[in-house]
């Protein structure tokens, strides 16, 4: 069992779980969205780690280079990053509207206001 062989995957899992923890324990909506971002980024790291080939180089064809890393995960993640920020923006817009209506971003206070209606 070589530690270097799986270190990337483990850190990706650690980051994913940190994001998960942030999402489920923190009541602040913005903090939750940042936690969700941590979660997404950990998936990106996992995919890019899978694409790496030992001794390979960036997948741009150049004379004299034989080994390239796998370009397919790069494509998937490249688009996922931009889609990710677009969906985060939708989440933030919803948070702004919630703040307008309730005057707070804390989940507990929002729930209390809902109950008192």
């Amino acid at each position: 069992m070589n530690i270097g062989a799986h270190y990337n995957y483990w850190v990706a899992i650690f980051l994913m779980m940190t994001g998960f923890y942030v999402v489920i324990t923190h009541g602040n909506l913005i903090k939750k969205l940042i936690g969700l971002n941590l979660f997404t980024t950990s998936v990106f790291i996992l995919y890019i780690s899978l694409a790496k080939v030992r001794g390979g180089t960036a997948p741009i064809i150049a004379p004299g280079i034989e080994v390239y890393s796998n370009p397919l995960p790069h494509v998937l993640i490249l688009t996922a990053i931009v889609v990710g920020v677009a969906t985060t923006a939708v989440g933030l817009a919803l948070a702004l509207l919630i703040y307008d209506r309730y005057g707070t971003l804390e989940e507990e206070e929002i729930r209390l206001k809902d109950d008192s209606l």
Partner: protein, 331 residues
Amino acid sequence: MELIIDITLLTFLGLTALAINRIDKLFCVIMLSGIYSLLCASLFVTMDAVDVAFTEAAVGTGIATVLLLSTIGATETEQRSAPRRPLFALLVVCATGAILVYGTMDMPAFGDPNAPIHQHVAPRYVQQSQQEVGSDNIVTSILSSYRGFDTLGETVVIFTAGLSVVGLIGFRGMQKFGDRQRAAGITRDEMEQHLVLRIVIKMFIPLILLFALYVQFHGDFGPGGGFQAGVIFASGFIFYTLMFGLDAAMRVVSPRTLSYIAALGVLLYGGVGIATMLMGGNYLDYDVLRHDPLHGQHLGIFLIELGVGTTVFSVMVLIFFAFSSRKGLRQ
């Protein structure tokens, strides 16, 4: 050496994530998440994913940070509640993590050239994309030619996200931002006193925009393409808005124009597909666009990257406008 850099960066990432979890001041958390993205981008470079690193650096450290900051600018800057049931959450997280780590035991080692992921379709992309598509950058070939359908889908998702944000926050309020400011008696921008910043930014903006155009049109040969160029172009605009005010930026390009440009990009992308069908090929089969398949591919990729670039640019700026137009609303 590469392994040491890799492990150091990953460890820093873990520490940053822990700090994000612990800190209550949202401003610090947002700055940390910017640092986190920058570390991620460096990590992607060491793992040969230059295109991805490019995008992450522009999106994560640039646009996401600015959007988060404008949100806390319009709401509140501190988390007031303590973590809820932290021990139970920790238990759940540890259990899930342990199962996932158990799952990695069967995975091929990091960088193993014989891993299943490198056996299926990837060798064809690496060996034949240059003859079939003619672009040096394999990522660009896959993004815009082999998997053009996916990219069309992603572009539509981004367009839809832009529509949703504008729909949620309101188009009219955004357009009337200047009137509201004048009504409130705010005619001068608070940044006007920072003379050095203003002049430096004036010098920087043309360079940023020029670089974005280079990234857009050089995507065939080096790292780059529509997604990155759109984001970089948008950050040039956001830079301008931060310094000279939203009102001035909206006079450069109005929200209405931006919404037309966003739709135009998606239409351009879809239109190329229709054009190829009318010329006798399949949807998004660029071979038929010109007499020579390679020239056809070149033209097709150029056009759809342009479509992606304009959509990404205008949606990002539109979202930013929507967020910053909230600032004057509550006062």
